[in-house]
Amino acid sequence: MSQDYAGKAPAPRVPCDVAHKGAADGGLNRREFLAGAGLTAMSAIATTVAGAAPGFIESMLRRHFKELSPDEVQERLRLLEEEYSSRFGKKVTVAATPPMENVLFGYALDLSRCIGCRRCVYACVHENNQSRDPQIHWIRVLEMAKERGIDLEEADPYYDHDTVPQEDSFYMPVACQQCRNPPCTRVCPVQATWQEPDGIVVIDYDWCIGCRYCMAACPYGARHFNWGNPQIPAAGLNTDMHVLGNRPRVAGVVEKCTFCIQRVRKGRYPACVEICPVGARKFGNLLDENSELRYLMREKRVFVLKEDLNTQPKFYYFYAT
């Protein structure tokens, strides 16, 4: 399916904002030198102690993604493709598709339609190469009693019925709310996570140190940590990857929903929107007045979660009926 969420052809691509900040200098610069000199000895020890795979030192010395020159980005992508292709035994592509101009992604979810089937949860797991063991889910579906209304304290994320929806319940899926004012990026001690120009909050998995301060700061439980070594069966691997999105992660780093950055920057819908059997999930460009999203915001009444925290989500909930 290649539906166009914005109701128009994608705007011409512009160079990725993150890709042209660093200078394209050849050879070692001072930073690399300092980092390299101080760390070679330590990495040797770490390799022996942790029994780490070859390439450990290279990955340990990787620089911040935003500091890479366009050439270095290409080099990084090639390196990652090689790594994943050999690990999973299939051809993998890792892209760094840049944001489109005049696009600010937004999301809306119709609580009156959601039936709590969790298809979105597993479509997301497959699309975004989440670990199957231990399981990581970017979407958490909360079952709530109709007679109580939205009440997080009484919500049940582990409901397990033969059929859904249950008569007296309604369902509220929660994932990253893609805040305009994200508390998670501000607290990161090493600037490993940031908001892209199209509004997607991303993480550089090669730069994250795994301190989990962002998880403490997120009011929506949207960030997930790789507590163990993530396992993905080769058969279930999605080989269409984005460097800031669904490429396989390592143990000890944080990950989160990226609105399926590998899809939406190419004009496709997120996997959860496509899979939803009842059409409860809507996605589009907040800057385009003719988008379905803006139509909903105009014609229905939308609300955001925990609006008192001033996070200003770009993820809206509404009741269509």
């Binding site: 942790a50 340990m60 919500a155 090493v190 140190i209 795994g210 301060y213 009011p219 997930h224």
Partner: protein
């Protein structure tokens, strides 16, 4: 170059010599370090899944201990202020031990953070210039700066004082006094910044209260001296150091005031939470009465409260403050009370229930306990070694002259 080399040789000799008890103590610490070190290698290999932490409770035992120990390190200032600023004699000789304790505690803090992070080999991302330290936005970045700054400051002061004493030179007041004065705001800042790490998170109402930083300071001014008072008595028995009772009583009295302030702030917090009875109360309720049948922290929370109250009374009443038995009991009670309060009882209820209302009941695993034991052992080891060097030098029993004979 002769001076520094002599100092190092002299120090190494002091550390290597000792009685049976000393060697047994060091062997015990090294065994614990090995035991925990093996657990850490396991954790490096399998990931933090070896701990009891999960997405719902993503900080726990390690960060709790870190927070407690920041308090211990900061409390050295309580002894430094009267000792140096008002040159109040009896405390002056104990102040140096406050600084030694601060060094040991800060090293433990840094180790607890190190074992808590998922990719420790990427620590260089935190280095200024080489990495991408997120200042001024991230409070954790500030914490890295102030903690390391405080460590360097204390190391410089202690090494300089010992070095001059070892060489029987008078120390340069113009150099030392400004550094000591600087260590006072530095001590306050490490604790304030650490409190702000939690305080700034609107997502966690249990921490998002302005009273947090003052409470951190108040409880630190109890726990740090409590450890010192016990250590002094151990030093009195095992070394030639003699302290005046006056000094000990004075410290105990200061602790009573600090504990009063801590309990008052605690009461203010409890009133606000229970009287306003908003959603935010659920964290406090989880701590003190349990939530939906989950009561893992309740006994610890009440134990902490009773320890603090009883210790406050023991230190408030002059006769129990001056009695060696009740004084030590009070120290133990304060230590336990604040250890629970600033450790598990601060971090875990902040994350239970989690931001979407789920209750995940955290308990530490053996891996966490072993690694924690190893880090405490490293701290004790550092403190022991520092004392082993410092005491004879301060007492004038050991100097550059001793090397000649």
């Amino acid at each position: 170059m002769r001076g520094p080399i002599n100092f190092i040789i002299g120090s190494v000799r002091l550390v290597l010599r000792g009685g049976k008890a000393y060697y047994a103590w060091m062997a015990f610490l090294l065994a614990l370090i090995l035991w925990g070190g093996i657990a850490y290698v396991d954790q490096l290999r399998h990931g933090l899944i070896m701990t009891g932490m999960r997405d719902q409770v993503s900080w726990a035992f390690y960060i709790g201990n870190f927070t407690f120990l920041v308090g211990v390190a900061a409390a050295a200032v309580l002894l430094v202020i009267p000792a140096y600023v008002y040159s109040w004699k009896p405390i002056k000789e104990v102040a140096i031990f406050g600084e030694l304790l601060a060094i040991s505690a800060i090293v433990m803090c840094l180790l607890f953070v190190t074992v808590d992070i998922g990719r420790p080999e990427r620590f260089w991302h935190l280095l200024p210039l080489v990495g991408a330290l997120n200042v001024p936005a991230s409070l954790l970045a500030w914490d890295v700066l102030v903690l390391n700054g405080y460590l360097v400051l204390n190391v410089v002061i202690v090494v300089y004082l010992l070095y001059t004493a070892f060489n029987k030179q008078p120390y340069n007041k113009n150099f030392v006094v400004p550094l000591i004065l600087l260590s006072i705001p530095a001590a306050i800042s490490i604790h304030t910044v650490t409190a702000f790490v939690y305080n700034g998170l609107a997502a966690r109402p249990f921490w998002n209260a302005s009273i947090l930083a003052p409470r951190f300071i108040a409880s630190a001014f109890c726990s740090g001296p409590a450890i010192l008072l016990i250590l002094f008595q151990i030093l009195q028995r095992t070394t030639s150091i003699r302290l005046q009772d006056e000094a000990i009583w004075k410290i105990a009295e200061l602790m009573a005031y600090a504990m009063f302030f801590n309990l008052f702030l605690f009461g203010a917090e409890i009133f606000k939470e229970y009287y306003s009875n908003t959603y935010h109360l659920s964290h406090t309720r989880y701590l003190y009465s349990g939530l939906h049948g989950h009561t893992a922290l309740v006994p610890y929370a009440w134990a902490s409260f009773f320890c603090s109250v009883v210790a406050f009374l023991l230190f408030l009443i002059p006769s129990t403050r001056k009695n060696i038995v009740t004084l030590n009991l009070g120290c133990l009670l304060i230590y336990s009370g604040v250890y629970i309060e600033k450790g598990l009882a601060l971090v875990i209820p902040g994350m239970t229930p989690d931001v979407l209302g789920e209750i995940y009941e955290y308990t530490p695993t053996l891996t966490e306990i072993r690694i924690g034991a190893a880090i405490f052992s490293i701290g004790f080891l550092i403190f022991t070694v520092l004392c082993k060097i410092a005491i004879p030098i301060i007492q004038g029993e050991y100097s550059v002259d001793s090397l000649k004979s």
